[in-house]
């Protein structure tokens, strides 16, 4: 009887320890990917089954856990467009249209496999709870669950390099565990300022058979911004931060 009570007590104590470890690991992954506040330059490439490509260049700024914005630098048809995210709120600013319009995390400003939530990614720990952690060879496997219904993917499986504590692969799933897309983290590089992380993220999706999208990170730098930068009124002026 005592053994059974002891076993149950061990389980009760062990579960929070696992959850804590997962949460801690997720926070480490976040910080290894990006400083909490930063500026970065990224290129997105949509690749079609016949090999044709379309490229987009973005300047991104982020502050704290819930503020991120980006500005299109290229191609010419998109230049000047910007997008802002504050928590679950997202807006798109198109210079011709003039006023920022609300968009949703599941829409895609660039087309292809990446959606707005992928491009305006907040810290994983800000959006997901680590429910379970497994050890698989040289990697950890984190099972993440969205904190709220407003997060783009209800469930996420994240494979994390044990030594470098950066993701190697992420599967994005619906509530019913249907696979929406897979992100592959590649080419670990020293991007300066102590940031050593995968510089290429490839993604494919069973919903877009044969298509692939790639995100390349060229430059990332820790930088502090005023809160006023992350407002609708400032969206037409993001270029002034470069």
């Amino acid at each position: 009887m005592l053994k059974i009570i002891g076993f149950i007590l061990t389980l009760i104590i062990a579960v929070p320890v696992y959850a804590m470890d997962g949460t801690q690991l997720l926070k480490e992954v976040d910080r290894n990917l990006n400083p909490e506040s930063y500026e970065s330059y990224r290129k997105l490439i949509n690749i079609e089954p016949d090999g044709r490509k379309k490229e987009f260049t973005l300047f991104t700024v982020k502050k704290g856990v819930d503020k991120v914005a980006f500005l299109f630098l290229a191609p010419a048809s998109e230049k000047g467009r910007s997008s802002l995210r504050i928590g679950d709120n997202m807006w798109l600013y198109i210079p011709n249209v003039g006023k920022p319009i609300r968009t949703t995390s599941l829409q895609s400003i660039v087309g292809g496999v990446f959606n707005n939530a992928d491009i305006l990614q907040l810290d994983y720990a800000a959006e997901y709870n680590a429910e379970q952690i497994e050890e698989t060879g040289g990697e950890y496997l984190l099972h993440l669950k969205a904190k709220t219904k407003t997060v783009a993917y209800d469930r996420v499986k994240m494979w994390v390099d044990r030594n470098k504590k950066v993701p190697t692969k992420i599967e994005c799933l619906t509530e019913a565990s249907m696979l929406i897309k897979t992100l592959y983290f590649k080419e670990i590089k020293d991007l300066g300022g102590g940031i050593v992380r995968p510089s290429v993220i490839e993604t494919d999706s069973p919903l877009y058979k044969g298509y692939k999208s790639v995100m390349i990170l060229a430059k990332i730098k820790k930088r502090e911004f005023k809160d006023e930068v992350f407002t609708l009124t400032f969206m037409p002026n993001l270029e002034s931060l470069r």
Binding site: N89, K99, L106, G111, D227, F234
Partner: protein, 438 residues
């Protein structure tokens, strides 16, 4: 504007399009990200060139056909060839930035050839801090939250619900944006005061001249809701005030609304005998809309618009009846005096976009159906609720080639006699637009 040979203009407008098409089959094998691609230059020059042929199917029994074609026969269809070159440039130094956007339009239609260059925007922007921006010059403000209509956009030219994303000409203003952020339910507050001088050679289309007008917008991001309070006063137009809001209910469902009051609005209308009257009242307009995205990435934009300054169905019927009477009179006597009267009351009045009381707008667009990347078909319906007349516009947008946007759009108009869309001069319109950005 200096006179430029027509061939030169057409060549300048068409070259980038053919250049883009010739490049479309050339692709690099590997993707690269050269740091020189992101280097910031103090200047920027860009824009687009556009070709837009249009075919109109005329409704020869419609009042507005009779009004415009009373003394000519152009057949059952009309062709129109449009080209445009929109240029924009900016120059930055320190806290200041100079921005200019010009639009050169060329049109060949049954009326002959026409070419015009307009400075849409041209202003100096000073940014002493991230909290404050001061702009002086010609600028579009684009206030309001509606997609097809903006009754509270008091300092903007009215946009075309048929193509709401077209850039518009601004007004010469002095404006500032002051932003303040907070922790808590009120996250952002910003205030935009605007001065609009209206004199003989400055903004003389805005309203009565020799007035310095003031407009202001107070924006709040409060409880995750965008809220604006807007005012315009000063003498060129009667005082007007309004408010708007926008909010995401879920990640894929947005609601928005707009409300505007125009004090002492003067409505000029004509009865079926041609007597012109004027009525003065406070015109209240409002708009409510949603934007909804389904799991299959179909986007629905639905808006209801109550135009307080609009004409009732009876007033619209009287106007169309008068035009018909004027046309009959012209046929009988050869005198176009009544037609001229009709043209006069149409200009800026019955002839403005959506002059009636109640409208419904629905746009359904499907992103990349059948896994065809960069292809977006959509359909837009515009219904005059009172007289049940409508327009319906299917369109297909294709953006596979970088910087080249191809759009094919058709519009069909239908309605009973003496209804708004039933009396438009066209039964249908088919338009192709090729736009190359550089």
């Amino acid at each position: 504007m200096p006179k430029i040979k027509r061939q030169t203009v057409i060549a300048a407008l068409t070259f980038p399009l053919f250049y883009a098409l010739s490049l479309s089959s050339t692709y690099a094998e590997e993707y690269t990200f050269d740091i020189s691609e992101i280097e910031k230059k103090p200047y920027h020059i860009g824009g687009y060139a556009e070709l837009r042929p249009v075919l109109f199917g005329l409704d020869r029994d419609a009042s507005l056909y009779k009004l415009r074609f009373y003394n000519r026969d152009e057949g059952a269809t009309l062709e129109e060839y449009n080209a445009a070159l929109q240029l924009e440039g900016s120059l930055e130094k320190g806290i200041s930035r100079l921005f200019v956007r010009t639009n050169t339009g060329y049109k060949k239609s049954y009326l002959g050839e026409d070419q015009e260059t307009i400075v849409y925007e041209g202003y100096l922007s000073l940014k002493p801090s991230s909290s404050l921006t001061i702009d002086i010059g010609k600028k579009t403000l684009k206030w309001g939250k509606g997609y097809a209509w903006n009754p509270a956009a008091f300092v903007d030219r009215p946009k075309d619900p048929d193509d709401p994303e077209l850039s518009l000409e601004g007004f010469i203003v002095a404006s500032a944006d002051y932003i303040k952020t907070f922790q808590g339910p009120l996250k952002t507050l910003s205030f935009t005061p605007v001065l609009i001088p209206v004199y003989e050679h400055v903004n003389n289309t805005f309203g009565d001249v020799n007035n310095l007008n003031f407009a202001g917008k107070l924006y709040l991001l409060l409880y995750d809701t965008d809220i604006d309070f807007i005012i315009l006063t000063g003498g060129s137009k009667t005082a007007r005030y309004g408010a708007d809001f926008s909010r995401n209910i879920t990640t894929n469902f947005e609601i928005h609304g707009e409300f505007a009051v125009i004090e002492d609005y003067k409505k000029r209308f004509i009865d079926k005998s041609g007597n012109i009257s004027e009525k003065e009242f406070d015109a209240e307009s409002w708009l409510a809309g949603i934007r909804y995205l389904t799991e299959r990435e179909t986007t629905y934009i639905l808006e209801y618009y109550r135009n307080g300054a609009g004409f009732t169905t009876d007033e619209m019927r009287d106007y169309f009846s008068f035009i018909n009477t004027a046309y009959d009179s012209y046929l009988a006597s050869g005198s176009d005096a009544l037609i001229k009267k009709g043209l006069n009351i149409t200009e800026g009045n019955y002839g403005r976009m959506n002059p009636a009381r109640e409208y419904l707008y629905l746009r359904i667009s499907q992103k990349e159906p059948f896994d065809i990347l960069y292809f977006t078909p959509s359909i837009t319906g515009l219904l005059n609720i009172d007289d049940k007349s409508y327009s319906i516009s299917p369109e297909a947008l294709y953006t596979r080639i970088t910087n080249l946007e191809l759009r094919l759009k058709a519009t069909f108009l239908a309605g009973e006699r003496l209804s708004e869309y039933g009396e438009k001069q066209n039964d249908y319109r088919i338009e192709f637009r090729a736009r190359y950005y550089f």
